[in-house]
């Protein structure tokens, strides 16, 4: 197991180099001046852009550019984000916790709802509940994230005014910046509780409900479908028949024997769900003006802010690899049939 984890960790640099080499090669489509824009911070620098081109060797071959870029990144200089007007790394530090919070608070209900509905569906195969849940999940799976997000926005923000846009209301955001509000973790939900500000906590949760509902509704639909077929598959296997033959109650057979084994493919799917959520946050954060990585990336892409977009691709790539590694390890722990040597 240890060796296996080490081997998966070794894949992290592969992804890092793969993604960055790919992006530097893509950058060859741009002119040296456009490439230099990645490092420009002010108007003054814009005037002697040739100095920047020279400094970073942006008119040299791709390998020189790559090496220079790598040296900068190792020093923590990911370039300057036009979209946020600050260094890329600062934007990342500020926005990553917000997105992580949103993704985590969506991931848990996604899995719970998906597994629950999927198993109910399988246990009532072809019954009315099964029909409803199957049809609903196909429908939800067909909903583009931006369409569902916008419909929810129009109805619950525009029409009913129940929820707000952004991360907190303006009054609270000023308080967070000014007063003695400590950012212990960077996660606003946790920090507000640690500061004993229950009103801010409720406000933050209120702002997160619409994005979370959007993400959960679309992502859990896939889990429902896989969970259903996985459980149906497990129910036909010999060990389930043996359990029944022993005279165990149907509910125990289902819960203790079938369900646990049916959950195994869901763990792999968890990795895909992370990818789906990262795709989803780009859209939901944009629609709900939530100040996370997704909105940053979307803004950056529209403003041709290559520095941010590049960094965003590298960050999300590494995140996905780490998430998949967790899924694989969990897989090995839960399923005794799997051996990694």
């Amino acid at each position: 197991m240890f060796v296996f984890i080490i081997r998966r960790l070794l894949f992290l640099p592969v992804v890092f180099f793969g993604v960055t080499i790919f992006i530097v090669l893509l950058m060859q489509f741009l002119s040296p001046t456009q490439r230099a824009a990645t490092y420009v911070r002010s108007e003054a620098q814009l005037r002697n852009i040739d100095a920047i081109i020279d400094q970073y060797g942006l008119d040299k071959g791709p390998h020189v550019q790559y090496w220079n870029w790598l040296k900068q990144v190792l020093r923590g200089n990911w370039g300057f984000s036009k979209a946020t007007g600050e260094p890329v790394w600062d934007s990342f530090k500020r926005r990553f916790p917000a997105t992580f919070e949103l993704a985590l608070l969506s991931f848990i209900p996604t899995m719970l709802v998906g597994v629950w509905l999927g198993s109910i569906s399988a246990l009532n195969r072809d019954g009315i509940i099964d029909q409803i849940s199957r049809t609903t999940s196909i429908f939800l799976w067909s909903l583009p994230t931006f369409v569902l997000a916008i419909w929810l926005l129009v109805i619950f923000y525009g029409g009913l005014g129940w929820f707000g846009l952004g991360q907190v209301t303006t009054a609270h955001s000023l308080e967070i910046i000014r007063s003695n509000f400590h950012r212990y973790t960077g996660f606003l939900t946790l920090d507000s509780l640690l500061n004993g500000r229950f009103d801010i906590f409720l406000d933050v949760v209120n702002h997160m409900i619409l994005p979370i509902v959007t993400l959960v509704a679309i992502q859990s639909a896939q889990i429902v479908r896989i969970m259903r077929s996985s459980l149906l598959d497990t129910l036909t296997q010999d060990f389930v028949r043996t359990a029944r033959a022993k005279g165990l109650a149907e509910s125990i057979v289902n819960r203790k024997h079938a369900l646990r084994n049916a959950l195994i493919p869901i763990i792999t799917l968890g990795g895909f769900t992370i990818v789906g959520l990262l795709n989803g946050v780009v859209i939901t954060e944009t629609v709900f003006a939530y100040p996370g990585m997704g909105k940053w990336l979307a803004d950056a892409a529209v403003q041709l802010d290559t520095a941010s977009v590049m960094a965003g691709a590298v960050f999300t790539g590494l995140l996905v690899v780490i998430a998949n590694m967790f899924a694989d390890v969990l897989y090995a722990v839960i399923d005794p049939r799997i051996r990694y040597n």
Binding site: F29, L143, P144
Partner: protein, 346 residues
């Protein structure tokens, strides 16, 4: 009764009736699935709309007389030819419409959407663009994007997948690591990176999605080839002296490619969704090009309506989003049914 009597064997050897594909087992199973049939009908309707986009928008073309009419060589007096199947213009707009036909005609240039009127039957979106016209021609854009991305992805995917699966070794490892890297970045983020660097246009959106699409097909085909390669008949062909080229193209590929083609064609819905998502973020087609995602993007400024009348501009957001959902729903319903039919286990 004497088992070996000729009478019995004549009875058991029933003449093989050749059943049409309509009566085949897979088809019968498909016909029993009402959701699959609904999906099929929805898609058929979209295909119809895409093909007859010109005639379906003839009233708009006649009333607005945009560049499309000019590029078709029609004047004020001959513009009604578009409604007449005897005239060449009717067929030209179906089979070879000028590029300008994809630009939505404008009823004025106001940012404020206009409610449905006699001229614009579904209203106009921000910038005076005709919603009905955009929806109809957007169907063509959707199919173009979906088919080109799938076709290109399949071409590259089949080549890489068969090389990787058949030869194995370091080539396989290299391609698989490249695919791992591509899959490590969420598709939307990767496409955003590519479109940002290459420039914002529909063509670059299609390139970006193709770069993502081939990887999935290559990996799937590789798995299939690894499975088929172990089957006895491949060994047989090898024993008869077939070279690797012949083995791949005559024996292995034809046996692994069928399911890939079906799965890929069912992916078109997902790809159209990707195009729409990028257009929605403002990364797709140029402003005014008939494209559903862009129409949703146009609607963003107005969808919350006016103070006190939250649904004042409902039509700018309802129609384009409804059509996108219907389109993707059609593909997914059909796809679900076809996967059910193909799955031998159930």
């Amino acid at each position: 009764m004497d088992i070996s009597s000729p009478a019995v064997s004549a009875q058991t050897v029933t003449p093989k009736v050749k059943k049409g594909w309509w009566q085949s087992k897979a088809m019968r199973r498909f016909r029993r699935n009402p959701l699959g049939i609904i999906g099929f009908i929805i898609l058929l309707a979209f295909v119809f709309v895409a093909i007859f986009a010109g005639p379906l928008t003839s009233s708009q073309l006649i009333n607005y007389r945009n560049n499309c009419v000019r590029d078709l060589g029609l004047s004020r007096s001959t513009v009604t030819d578009l409604r007449n199947p005897v005239k060449p213009a009717f067929w030209r707009i179906i089979f070879a419409p000028p590029g300008s036909c994809f630009n939505m005609p404008r009823d004025g240039f106001s940012e404020i959407p206009k409610p449905p009127s006699e001229l614009s039957i579904l209203g106009t979106t921000s910038g005076g663009y005709d919603i009905y016209y955009g929806l109809i021609w957007g169907t063509r854009t959707a199919f173009y994007g979906g088919i080109i991305v799938t076709g290109f992805g399949l071409l590259v995917g089949i080549i890489i997948g068969s090389i990787s699966g058949y030869f194995g070794g370091w080539i396989d490892t290299l391609f698989m690591r490249i695919i791992d890297v591509i899959f490590a970045i969420p598709g939307l983020v990767l496409s955003m990176v590519i479109v940002t660097i290459l420039g914002q246009s529909l063509r670059n959106v299609i390139i970006a999605l193709s770069i993502f699409a081939w990887a999935g097909y290559a990996r799937f085909l590789r798995g299939e080839i690894l499975r088929v390669r172990e089957l006895d008949f491949v060994d047989g062909a090898k024993a008869l002296g077939a070279r690797s080229g012949r083995l791949i193209f005559r024996h292995v590929l034809p046996n692994s490619i069928g399911s890939l083609l079906i799965l890929a064609s069912l992916d078109i819905g997902t790809i159209v969704l990707g195009v729409a998502a990028l257009s929605f973020l403002g990364l797709g087609a140029p402003a005014g090009y008939a494209d559903w995602g862009q129409m949703v993007n146009f609607a963003r400024g107005w969808m919350l309506g006016l103070p006190g009348q939250p649904f004042a501009y409902w039509y700018v957001i309802f129609w384009p989003s409804f059509i996108i959902v219907l389109f993707v729903l059609g593909w997914n319903l059909l796809g679900d049914a076809v996967r059910d039919v193909m799955d031998v286990k159930s």
